[in-house]
Symmetry: C2
Subunit: 289 residues, 2 copies
């Protein structure tokens, strides 16, 4: 049993020796797609949804996989079994592989598949009990017409720049706007607001990654009689919201209490946010049992 | 003497063993900057200009180098000396280094420096004597407000997608438009047109990489009494041009004879294009002597 396992094309690397060719297009151009999934009680959570998205990301950039989905699933389970702990972080990276230095994707024929498995970090309780703060970044989210943010790829410099701005200003994360001035998403999360009794998140058309947790919540909220809606959200609307939170597979639901210099609602995690998190936790428990 | 040398942080790799950690941010996020320079008679051409641009790219993404410029130059010359041939291709890649999986650039402290040196491919003569064709891509160039195209970074998927479209349509390269519908650049080249006696290339404000050859030509053309101008170029204007060509450090000046289905000028390489190429070649000869 290990605390960390990295496998490259099915071969588990020795610690500190998980290496890839510098001629890999993932390294040269960020020409790769990836997913992050996690386990509860050692069960990969919504793995099918994550793999569906991985395949969709690949299709969007005309990338074909030189391995089967079955082999990929087996490889993931093999790594999960060998890892210590119930809460695991699994990052699946598929690059277009090694090829001559040439932007043409046809320069490469065989993918490289890298899986990084390790214990999921334990996040500070205060994130959930006290909430966190955001900034609205000066860095616009990539346009759908340039690189669709709905492709989870190895081109993450856009988000790195926004995150650098957030950290510089002491914030937890940065919200990125699209060219129309509407909020898209955080650097690795989706955003939600609560207005009255309504839960609102930006529509996919705003240019964002369709989060798995986001999708689950849209369905779960409806099922639990809560009003949900996908609507454009400007920074002004965000700051006037009664409650605000972000969602991600690994972090679940994190309350937002401040955006730039503006307190959200009472400046404390909202009751409706916390109620939704309980609904989500129940859904997770049902899934894994 | 070798045909190819790859050095990582000053250590020359054995053939086929130039490897980097999968935890390198260059691999995970494309969080790297790079330059391609070349040699004539084994002399690195305009190396200072390329290194200035490398440092400017790094600054734009808040990346600091954990090595000195002097060390970098020495390393480049060390590799050039060991390579066979006079015409060499030198790719210098600097990543933000290895760090915890976290978009925050502060997660990494020490860069990885990769230098790939090899013989410059001999380009087909027909490119220069018969010209090549372009398409205007459906993929828009990244917006300056998202990831500035004037940063030569490891995020090249935008260009990979445009190049894939070009190859699918049997073209040499793809021209990418900005959000205003003006031409920015090719996937690894700058674009120029000739109208009457005037040489025109899009301004940096259009959102493009300030090419070293582009800059040299702006100066050289003026010095040689040619009229040059930086102006926005729409696809319609491009297609009505008398002549058209693209420029890059490695390819120098390549005549364009067709854009989408439209022949440019006479459908043959233009005389003014070829004259400018002679001026450029003379400039190169003077530089290296």
């Amino acid at each position: 049993m290990s605390k960390e396992i990295i496998s490259i094309n099915g071969t588990i690397s020795k610690p500190g020796e998980a290496l890839i060719s510098v001629m890999d297009r993932g390294f040269l151009y960020g020409d790769s797609v990836y997913e992050v999934t996690l386990t509860y009680n050692k069960i990969p959570f919504l793995l099918d949804e994550h793999l569906d998205r991985l395949y969709r990301s690949a299709k969007s950039i005309h990338m074909k996989f030189s391995f089967s989905r079955e082999d990929l699933v087996n490889e993931i389970f093999k790594i999960v079994e060998k890892l210590t702990g119930d809460r695991l972080y699994i990052r699946i990276i598929v690059t277009r592989g090694i090829g001559e230095i040439n932007l043409d994707p046809a320069a490469s024929k065989t993918n490289n598949l890298v899986i990084i498995g390790r214990q999921l970090p334990v996040y500070p309780k205060s994130w959930y009990t006290e909430g966190v703060s955001l900034i609205v970044s000066d860095v616009l989210r990539n346009s759908k017409r340039s690189i669709d943010p709905n492709v989870k790829s190895g081109n993450y410099l856009n988000n790195v720049l926004a995150m650098a701005e957030a950290k510089e200003k002491g914030a937890f994360d940065a919200m990125m706007l699209n060219h129309k001035g509407n909020i898209t998403e955080g650097t690795t999360s989706n955003i939600w607001i609560v207005e009255g009794s309504k839960f609102i998140t930006p529509p996919l058309e705003a240019g964002l990654l369709g989060g798995i947790t986001r999708k689950s919540l849209l369905i779960l909220a409806s099922k639990n009689g809560l009003e949900v809606s996908e609507e454009n959200i400007t920074p002004e609307r965000l700051k006037k919201a009664d409650e605000c939170f972000l969602t991600s597979s690994t972090k679940e639901i994190v309350p937002i209490i401040k955006v730039d210099e503006t307190l959200i609602g009472t400046g404390k995690p909202g009751a409706k946010t916390q109620n939704l998190h309980q609904i989500y936790k129940k859904f997770v428990m049902e899934y894994i049992s």
